[in-house]
C-alpha cells in the first residue's frame, strides 16, 4: 500500500497539477483571462442566477388562445368556402364550440355532397412525418346526412402545430433578446410546449419579461368614420367592424374595420429615431415591396381618412392620411420614451410570436443580492475550511497537516473539474462543496483512526500504516458509493438549483476518494521514506 511506482507518482502529481491549472482562471477577472496565451486553460466557473443575478423564465404556449385563433381562422375559411360555391351553400349556426371544434348546419340537406367536396381541403394537411410517412392533418371533420358538420383538431395535428409554434417562438425570442445586448441568454425548449429563457447577469428583468412575453402582433386598420364608437359601445359594432382601445389613460375607443389592411409580417425594417420637427422619439418603419404597393394603393384611395396602428389589440397611434404614401415607409409617433420607442422597433424587427406565451415559473435575482450571496458564500466556506483544517491538525498532528494538504488538493480538483465541465455554481452548490469538505475529512478520519487502532494492537509503524490504509479502503468506497448513488439520482430527478448541488456533490465525492485516499497515502509514503520513523506521531 505504501510503495508507489514512478509512473504512479507522476500520474498523481500530474492530476493535481492539472486540477490547480484549471482552477486558476477563477481567481482572475474575465478580461485578465482573455489576455492569457491560448494554451492556458481559460474556462471559468459559471455562476448561477442566484449568485450573479439575472432571470429564469419558464414560458408555456397558451394552448387555449392558440386553439381559439386557429378555430377563428377556420370559421373564416368555412364561410368563404361555402359562400363561394356556385350556387351558394346555405348554412346556419356556424361557430366555435368549447374551444375545440367548429360546428354548423346546412340549410339544405341536399347539398351535403357539395359541402363535403368544398370543405375537404380545409383539414389542412401538415408536413408528413419523415419517419412514419403518414399524412397528418390539422383537423378532422364529420358531415352527417342531416347536414350537421363538425370540425375538430386531430391530436397529432395539434401537437405538431404546438411544436412548430414553440420552434418559431424560440426564433422570435432569440432575435428580440439578442438585441437587448445582455450577456449570452439561453433560450431552449422544455418538454412539449414550454420555453425556458435564462439571462444571467441581467440587471432589469422586467424589461426582459416585457420584451419576451409580448406577442407584438401589429396590424393596420382603417377607422370606420360612418359610425361612432360611442354608439358601438352602447349597442354593438356594425358587421365587419371591431372596437379597440388606445393605450392612453383613460383609453380612447376606436371603431375600426375588422380585416387589417396590412400586418407586421409586411414590414421589412423598423428603427427608433427622433422626429425632426418635434424632437420626440418615434419609430420609423418600412414595408417590403408587396406591402409598400398595397399601402400605396390604400392611402391613395383613402386620403383624409384616419387609420389605426394596432399592437396586440391596442391602438398605439391613429394618424389621418394626409397624402398618398408611395415610398412604402411611415412613422409611428405615440408618446414614446426613448426606451419604449427602441423596444417597439426591436419587437417589430423581430416579428410577432405565433401564439401567446404565459409565464409559469419565474425566478429573478437582482445583482445586489447575488453579490451579497457570493461574499457570504466565500466567507462561510473560508471560515468552514479553516475551522475543519484546524480541528484536523489539533486531532492528528502531522497527519492532520498532511490531510490539510490533501484537502487543498481536493478543493483544486473540485474547482478545476467544475470549471472544465463549465458547470454552474449555485448557492446550494457552495453548500455542496462545504459539505464535501466535511465528508472529505471523513475518509482521512477513517484511515487515521484505523492506524491508531493498529498501533494500539501492537503493530510496527509501517505495518500499522499499511493495514490502516488497506482496511479503511473498503469502508471508504462503500460509504462514498452510497452517497454517490444519492447524488446521481438527485441529478436526474432534480431541477434547476438542485442539479447544481448534485453536480458539486458528485464531483466532490470522486475527488475526495482520490485526494483523501490516494494522495494522502502518497504523502504518508513520502514522509515514511524520508524519515523512517519507528513510532507514529498519531
Amino acid at each position: 500500500m505504501l510503495y508507489f511506482a514512478r509512473w504512479k507518482t507522476v500520474l498523481i502529481l500530474l492530476t493535481i497539477l492539472v486540477g490547480i491549472l484549471f482552477s486558476i482562471p477563477n481567481f482572475f477577472t474575465r478580461e485578465q483571462v482573455a489576455s492569457w496565451p491560448s494554451w492556458m486553460p481559460g474556462r471559468q466557473l459559471v455562476l448561477g442566477l442566484d449568485l450573479q443575478g439575472g432571470a429564469y423564465l419558464l414560458y408555456e404556449v397558451d394552448r387555449g388562445s392558440y386553439q381559439q385563433k386557429r378555430l377563428q381562422s377556420l370559421v373564416g375559411d368555412i364561410r368563404n368556402a361555402l359562400r363561394q360555391s356556385e350556387p351558394r351553400i346555405g348554412y346556419t349556426g356556424l361557430g366555435i364550440k368549447d374551444n375545440t371544434a367548429v360546428e354548423l348546419r346546412l340549410r339544405d340537406t341536399a347539398r351535403v355532397a357539395d359541402a363535403r367536396e368544398r370543405l375537404k381541403d380545409l383539414v389542412n394537411p401538415l408536413d408528413a412525418s419523415v419517419f412514419s410517412g403518414t399524412q397528418i392533418n390539422e383537423f378532422q371533420y364529420t358531415i352527417s346526412d342531416d347536414g350537421h358538420i363538425r370540425f375538430s383538431f386531430t391530436e397529432e395535428g395539434l401537437a405538431q402545430r404546438i411544436r412548430s409554434v414553440v420552434d418559431q417562438s424560440i426564433e422570435v425570442i432569440r432575435r428580440r433578446v439578442d438585441q437587448l445586448g445582455t450577456t449570452e441568454p439561453s433560450i431552449q425548449r422544455q418538454g412539449e410546449d414550454r420555453i425556458l429563457v435564462e439571462a444571467p447577469g441581467l440587471s432589469d428583468p422586467e424589461r426582459l419579461k416585457a420584451m419576451v412575453g409580448q406577442t407584438a402582433q401589429m396590424t393596420f386598420h382603417l377607422v370606420d368614420v360612418n359610425s361612432s364608437p360611442e354608439q358601438a359601445i352602447q349597442t354593438r359594432p356594425p358587421a365587419g367592424d371591431m372596437l379597440v382601445y388606445s393605450t392612453d389613460d383613460p383609453p380612447v375607443p376606436y371603431l375600426v374595420e375588422e380585416t387589417p389592411l396590412l400586418t407586421g409580417d409586411d414590414l421589412d425594417d423598423s428603427q427608433a429615431t427622433f422626429d425632426q420637427r418635434s424632437n420626440e422619439p418615434v419609430v420609423n418603419f418600412r414595408f417590403n415591396t408587396a406591402g409598400a404597393r398595397k399601402f400605396a394603393r390604400v392611402t391613395q384611395a383613402n386620403v383624409g381618412r384616419p387609420f389605426a396602428i394596432v399592437l396586440d389589440n391596442e391602438v398605439i397611434s391613429a394618424p389621418v392620411i394626409r397624402e398618398p404614401i408611395l415610398g412604402g415607409s411611415g412613422q409611428i409617433s405615440g408618446n414614446f420614451t426613448v426606451q419604449t420607442a427602441n423596444d417597439l422597433a426591436i419587437l417589430l424587427r423581430a416579428g410577432a410570436l405565433p401564439a401567446r406565451l404565459t409565464i409559469i415559473e419565474e425566478r429573478t435575482v437582482g445583482p445586489g443580492l447575488g453579490a451579497d450571496s457570493i461574499s457570504a458564500g466565500k466567507i462561510a466556506s473560508g471560515i468552514g475550511i479553516v475551522a475543519v483544517a484546524a480541528f484536523m491538525i489539533a486531532s492528528y498532528g502531522l497527519f492532520g497537516i498532511l490531510s490539510c494538504v490533501a484537502l487543498f488538493a481536493n478543493m483544486a480538483l473540485i474547482f478545476g473539474a467544475l470549471s472544465f465541465l463549465g458547470a454552474t455554481l449555485t448557492l446550494p452548490g457552495i453548500a455542496g462543496i462545504v459539505l464535501t469538505v466535511g465528508m472529505a475529512v471523513d475518509a482521512n478520519v477513517l484511515i487515521f483512526e484505523r492506524i491508531r487502532e493498529e498501533v494500539r494492537a501492537g503493530r510496527s509503524a509501517i505495518s500499522a500504516l499499511d493495514a490502516g490504509f488497506s482496511r479503511a479502503l473498503g469502508t471508504i468506497l462503500d460509504a462514498n458509493i452510497t452517497t454517490l448513488i444519492a447524488a446521481v439520482i438527485l441529478f436526474y430527478l432534480g431541477s434547476g438549483p438542485i442539479r447544481g448541488f448534485a453536480v458539486t456533490l458528485a464531483i466532490g465525492i470522486i475527488t475526495t476518494v482520490f485526494s483523501a485516499f490516494t494522495f494522502t497515502r502518497f504523502l504518508v509514503a513520502m514522509w515514511l521514506r524520508n524519515r523512517r520513523p519507528s513510532r507514529l506521531p498519531i
Binding site: 408555456e60 428583468p205 404565459t358 409565464i359 415559473e361 419565474e362 425566478r363 429573478t364 435575482v365 437582482g366 445586489g368 443580492l369 457570504a376 458564500g377 462561510a380 466556506s381 471560515i383 468552514g384 475550511i385 475551522a387 475543519v388 480541528f391 484536523m392 489539533a394 486531532s395 448557492l427 446550494p428 453548500a431 462545504v434 459539505l435 466535511g438 465528508m439 475529512v441 471523513d442 478520519v445 477513517l446 483512526e449 491508531r452 487502532e453 493498529e454 494492537a457 473498503g474 469502508t475 462503500d478 460509504a479 462514498n480 452510497t482 452517497t483 448513488i485 444519492a486 439520482i489 438527485l490 430527478l493 432534480g494 431541477s495 434547476g496 438549483p497 438542485i498 456533490l505 498519531i538
Partner: protein, 315 residues
C-alpha cells in the same frame, strides 16, 4: 504534542443494553412526526404550493413591516405574509397563489411593484405557477424514494439482507423525523429542503455503512461472541471516527449557517439537524435492529473460510 481526542481511547459503552429506551424514543418521535405531518402538514413554500416570494430592500432606513403589511392588504391579494429577512431594511413578502391561472400571478407582482415603486430595490422575485408546483412536488418525492430504493439494492448486494433493511430503516427514520421537525417548526418546505433531505439520506447511509462495515468484519473475527456484545464492540471501535466526522461536518455546516446568508439558512439548518439525527440513528437504530433481524443465523454460514485466518485484534 498532545493531540485532541473527542472520545477517550478504548471506550466500552453499553449501547445495546439501552436499546429498548432508544427504540421507544425513536418510535415515539416517528409517531409524533407522522401525526404532526398528517394533522398540521408542512409549511410548503411556493415551489410546491405555487405563489410568489418577493425579497425587497428599502432604500432609506429600516423597513416598517407594519406599514408594508397594511399597504399590501389593500391590494386584495389574499394571504400575504411579511417578515424581516436577515437585515432591518430587508423584507420578505410571500403572496399566496392567486386564483385565475398563470397570468394572475404576474398581475399580483405588477401590483406590488407599482405600490412600492422606487422606494425599494427588488432583490429577488420568484413566482411558481400552479402547474409547475405540482410537477416539482412529484419529482421531489420521486427523487427521495428512488434514491432510497437504489441504496437498498446496493447494500443488499454488498452485505446481508439484514444490513440493507437496517440501513434503510435507519434512513427512513431520519427522513421521517426531519419531516416532523419541518412540521413542528413551521419551516418553509421548498426544493432546497428536498435537497437537504437527500443529503441527510446520503450522510446517514454513509455513517451507517461505516459501522456496518466494522460489524461485518467483527462477525468474521469473533465467531463465538454474543451478537449484542459484538455490536457494542463494533460501535465502540468506530465511536472515535463517528464523533470526529460528525464534528468536522458540523464545523463546516455551522460556518455556513452563521455566515452563509439568509437565503440558505433553513437549508443548512435542516442539514445540521440531519447530521445529528443521522449519527444517532446509526448507533441506536441501525445497529440494534440487526439483533432483531436474527443476523447471526444467516451470516454464520456464509462468513467462514478465509475469515478464520484473519488476525484478531482485541476490541
Amino acid at each position: 504534542m498532545r493531540l485532541l481526542r473527542l472520545v477517550p481511547e478504548n471506550t466500552n459503552f453499553g449501547f445495546m443494553k439501552n436499546r429498548y429506551i432508544s427504540f421507544t424514543l425513536s418510535g415515539t418521535l416517528i409517531i409524533v412526526s407522522i401525526v404532526l405531518f398528517l394533522s398540521m402538514g408542512l409549511n410548503y413554500g411556493i415551489d410546491f404550493k405555487g405563489g410568489t416570494v418577493i425579497e425587497m430592500e428599502t432604500k432609506d432606513g429600516p423597513a416598517n413591516i407594519g406599514d408594508i403589511r397594511s399597504e399590501l392588504s389593500q391590494l386584495q391579494l389574499g394571504d400575504v405574509q411579511v417578515q424581516e429577512f436577515g437585515a432591518p431594511n430587508d423584507v420578505l413578502i410571500r403572496i399566496e397563489r392567486q386564483q385565475g391561472g398563470e397570468s394572475a400571478q404576474q398581475r399580483a407582482i405588477a401590483l406590488v411593484r407599482d405600490t412600492f415603486g422606487d422606494t425599494v430595490n427588488f432583490r429577488r422575485v420568484e413566482v411558481v405557477g400552479p402547474r409547475v408546483s405540482g410537477e416539482l412536488a412529484q419529482a421531489g418525492t420521486l427523487a427521495v424514494l428512488a434514491s432510497l430504493f437504489a441504496v437498498l439494492v446496493y447494500i443488499w448486494f454488498r452485505f446481508e439482507w439484514q444490513f440493507a433493511v437496517g440501513a434503510v430503516a435507519a434512513t427512513v427514520h431520519d427522513v421521517i423525523i426531519t419531516i416532523g421537525m419541518f412540521s413542528v417548526l413551521r419551516l418553509d418546505f421548498t426544493l432546497s429542503s428536498i435537497a437537504a433531505i437527500l443529503t441527510i439520506v446520503g450522510y446517514s447511509l454513509n455513517d451507517t455503512v461505516v459501522i456496518y462495515d466494522r460489524i461485518r468484519e467483527d462477525l468474521r473475527k469473533f465467531k463465538k461472541k454474543p451478537l449484542l456484545e459484538l455490536l457494542d464492540g463494533s460501535i465502540n471501535q468506530t465511536l472515535s471516527r463517528t464523533t470526529m466526522t460528525s464534528f468536522s461536518t458540523l464545523l463546516a455546516l455551522g460556518s455556513l449557517y452563521v455566515f452563509g446568508g439568509e437565503v440558505i439558512r433553513s437549508f443548512t439548518f435542516a442539514m445540521i439537524w440531519g447530521i445529528g439525527v443521522g449519527t444517532y440513528s446509526s448507533i441506536f437504530v441501525a445497529a440494534p435492529i440487526l439483533n432483531f433481524l436474527n443476523l447471526r443465523n444467516d451470516t454464520g454460514k456464509s462468513g467462514d473460510g478465509s475469515a478464520e485466518k484473519e488476525q484478531a485484534t482485541p476490541a
